[in-house]
């Protein structure tokens, strides 16, 4: 995994992992162990212990291998082969038993038994880490479900396995299936928060941050601790808040995030996200970015967020720069760098940087601005003479006139090509591999050789 966090995170590992249940505990511990240099040993030790308490041998082996890389001398870094052998035998016996039972149920043709048999088998496969087989076993339950409750529980099982597998398309399709299921009102209310979060996760992973933000924002606060096998309410606040920051404008953020009564419950769990959004809405971009930067290590260690942190942070930063520039027609690079790049350059100190701005072409902030201007995000130009950023003045009339002339020229060109094409096709002059043109060419070579003579004599007879 390419993500690596050097800084210590703000959370305490034990209390953090205590919020989760099920297989996600191991997954999260493993990610923290392999990505953080600060928590590596602690997290991997916990991961080894977690794996050993379950039945998944492969996970145990992977955790031990990772631990051996970080702390080779640790007693836990050696593989407990006895446990491995024993567990493999147990798992094998259990699998055989369950498959045998299922066969028996199938022979008896009792729907409910078959369903339960498949469910047990799916659960077993899930526990031993064979996710594909688990997913298949759960899918086989479909034909034997007799009540809507059965269908709901089956679909949730499939969704959970799909989340663990990272099969986000399957998550989305199953969420849609669940949504269109006719169930009772109160049951629907119970299911809704889980559905929204699962949907949000899949949208986050597919990179559609605005949709993800909407899904998380629509999550009912009744979620509570009911979905800890996947995520907690704190995660909903963080994912929703950051996705919203990266994809919504200030007005929307105020209206749909800060003034959103149901999402407020989530935000209360993560007050720094609330503060960051509030700062952004009040145009205090530096404070907003500082908060996010302070919690970056945490986010880099989050199993779902880590791969998107860089993109999301860049988007938030770009948006801040854009928003900051709106009221200015020209703004000094110095004040901008104070806002967005504190600590770089010498003139960014509190009050001494006024007369000798150190900003030049090579400073990273200017390079960032150049990149933003060149990809069209910022409609401005840099003046290195006066060290200012000048917003481009748009002369709409000229722009429209030029656009009209350009489109006219394009039209004339295109129409000419098409007309010529029509005429070429009509004259039968398409490019083709035939003997015909060759014959014609040989006839045509008259003017270039003695062939004129033969033709000429024919002509004047």
């Amino acid at each position: 995994m390419s993500v690596h966090a050097q800084d210590p995170p703000k959370f305490e590992l034990e209390s953090y992992i205590a919020n989760y249940t099920g297989r996600t505990r191991y997954n999260r511990l493993y990610v923290i162990g392999t990505c953080s240099s600060y928590l590596a040993v602690e997290a991997l030790k916990a991961a080894v212990a977690e794996a050993k308490s379950g039945k998944d041998v492969i996970r145990y082996e992977r955790a031990v291998r990772a631990l051996a890389e970080v702390a080779p001398n640790d007693p836990e870094a050696t593989l407990d082969t006895h446990w491995v052998d024993h567990m493999q035998k147990v798992v094998k016996a259990e699998t055989d038993r369950l498959e045998h039972e299922l066969k028996g149920y199938k022979n008896n043709l009792i729907k409910e038994s078959i369903r339960m048999g498949n469910e047990d088998l799916g659960q077993h496969y899930h526990l031993i880490g064979d996710l594909t087989s688990a997913s298949k076993a759960y899918s086989r339950m479909r034909d034997y479900c007799t009540t809507p409750t059965h269908i709901v529980s089956m679909l949730f099982k499939i969704i959970n396995v799909a989340i663990e597998r990272g099969d986000w398309l399957s998550v989305q399709s199953n969420v849609h299936r669940l949504r269109h299921l006719q169930t009772k009102q109160d049951e629907q209310a119970k299911v809704q928060p889980k559905l929204s979060t699962a949907m949000g996760l899949s949208q986050l992973h597919s990179g559609s941050y605005l949709d993800a933000a909407n899904s998380f924002l629509n999550t009912d606060p009744g979620l509570g601790d009911s979905y800890t096998e996947v995520l907690t309410s704190n995660d909903v606040a963080v994912y929703g808040g950051i996705c919203a920051l990266a994809s919504m404008d200030r007005d929307e953020l105020q209206r749909r995030v800060l003034d959103n009564n149901s999402f407020r419950n989530f935000l209360e769990l993560e007050p720094h996200i609330r503060r960051a959004i509030a700062f952004f809405c009040n145009s205090k971009f530096r404070s907003c970015l500082e908060i996010l930067e302070a919690y970056k290590a945490d986010y880099l260690l989050d199993i779902h967020l880590q791969r998107h942190v860089h993109t999301l942070f860049t988007r938030i930063r770009t948006k801040s720069i854009q928003q900051y520039l709106i009221p200015f027609s020209r703004v000094t690079l110095d004040s901008m760098s104070k806002m967005f790049a504190p600590g770089t350059g010498t003139g960014t100190g509190t009050d001494s940087g006024q007369q000798s701005p150190p900003i030049d072409l090579t400073s990273p902030f200017v390079q960032e601005l150049i990149a933003l201007i060149q990809d069209g995000t910022l409609d401005a130009r840099i003046d290195l003479e006066h060290k200012v950023l000048i917003a481009n003045q748009v002369d709409l009339r000229t722009e429209v006139q030029e656009a009209v002339l350009d489109s006219l020229a394009d039209y004339v060109r295109e129409a000419h090509i098409r007309m010529l094409r029509t005429n070429i096709v009509r004259a039968g002059l398409e490019v083709r591999v035939d003997d015909k043109p060759r014959e014609m060419r040989s006839k045509r070579s008259d003017g270039h050789g003695s062939a004129t003579l033969s033709r000429g004599s024919g002509l004047f007879q």
Partner: protein, 493 residues
Amino acid sequence: MAESIQQILTLSSELHNSRSLSKNDEDRHIYELVAVLRRSSHSILGEISLTNLSASEHTLPFLFALLYQVDLVRNRTGSSLPNDIEPGGWLWLRAVQFLGSFNGSQVSHVGREWCQLVQVFLFVAENTSKPFLAVRVLSKAILRMNRTQNTFDPLHPGFLRLCLLSKAYRYAIPILDRQISILPSSSESRDRSDYMPGSDDHAADRKSEATSTHGQLTHKDVAQYYLYGAMIYMALKEWDKAEHWLIIVISLPVANSVSKIMVEAFKKWVVVSLLKHGKIATPPRIISSHVMKIYQTVAKPYLSLADAFEKCDEQRLHNEVKLGRPVWRADLNLGLVDQLFEAYNLSLVLKLGRAFSALTTANVAEKASSSLNSAIRVESYVASLAMSGVLEARLLHLRVGQNSTMLRFPASMRSCAARRNGLRVELMDRGQALEVLSRGIRECNTDLGMGHESIDLVMKRQGWSAIMKNGMTKVNADDVVLGVEEDIMGDVS
């Protein structure tokens, strides 16, 4: 025999002097004269003295006699390039005299002979390595030949080739500037005369005569014409037009294969596109995907060169140019590729102009290519660009004795009035182009309306209505039968 010559010359003089004749009468006269000339025996044509004949007055007899003499000389010497035909020879001089003063409307009735003469002329000019001698004469002659037409002539590619060989590009411009939209096909004119019962025989004959030379037209001619045209525009550094002409070649309709000329054009298009836009322009959608794939596989070195250029990777650009040198040389694109370095510098400075409103030349030198690695070089380069009007920029010397100069890119240096004037001129240009185009479209529309397919369609539609009527009667008949059947069943029941 003397009478026959006399007869020919009388007919010809009548034609020359009769200004009051209607178009149809004039056509009839010309047709008669052409018929007489084509029937005439060798000896009669041999009798016509070219030295005493005026090419403007007796255009047609002059042309036939000239061609006869050319054949005679070639037969006699047994060589396709005898001294008499070579530049300076007496037949060459006669041909020049003819091409300088012939009557265009008469010659348009004898397309075959006209083509023959011009082809001989082109052949001689090219093979004696004196193409320039023919270019000027031919340029005027071709213009006179079809003053109002925008029809493709198979002689066009040959003429453009001559212009390229003699590097006399300007002479080709008047011919290139005519937007050609009509490509004659022999079958089409015949079809049309078939469908025009009212058209007189002469007109139909004349049409088929005029197009008989075009019957030999191949796709190669069309592709060559546009490729040569593009090369002439490239030589004149009119990238805009060159690009358009190259696009015409690469988007030629294909039945089953791509021609080598099209591949050549694609290679040139890639480089021209870089020179003009600084990147590869999006190819027109009209090109089908399989053709595009062929181009992309065949022109790989060019595409990788373009990639280096687009990514502003100077080192890679140098390497690509160096590595691909044998390829560019083989494709005769070496000169074009060498211009890329200058275009690279220009696109770099223009790019800076979009991101900066002011920076020092030293800053530019940091970012620019190795050829502009000092502030002084940048200054002189930018100064030359600003002087030639390519770049809207101002240079400011900051302090005396200091090397660094401030380079400013103002938002717009042109005054409002100048800008408006520019827009007006451009609008007029575009308006004219649109007018020419709409004329072409109208002609094309009429031709399509009179074409074989369109008339078949009309007939089919008329036939359709008849079928509809038949269909109705059939249905009625069926009804009757059904009714009878029902009756029968009723009886049974």
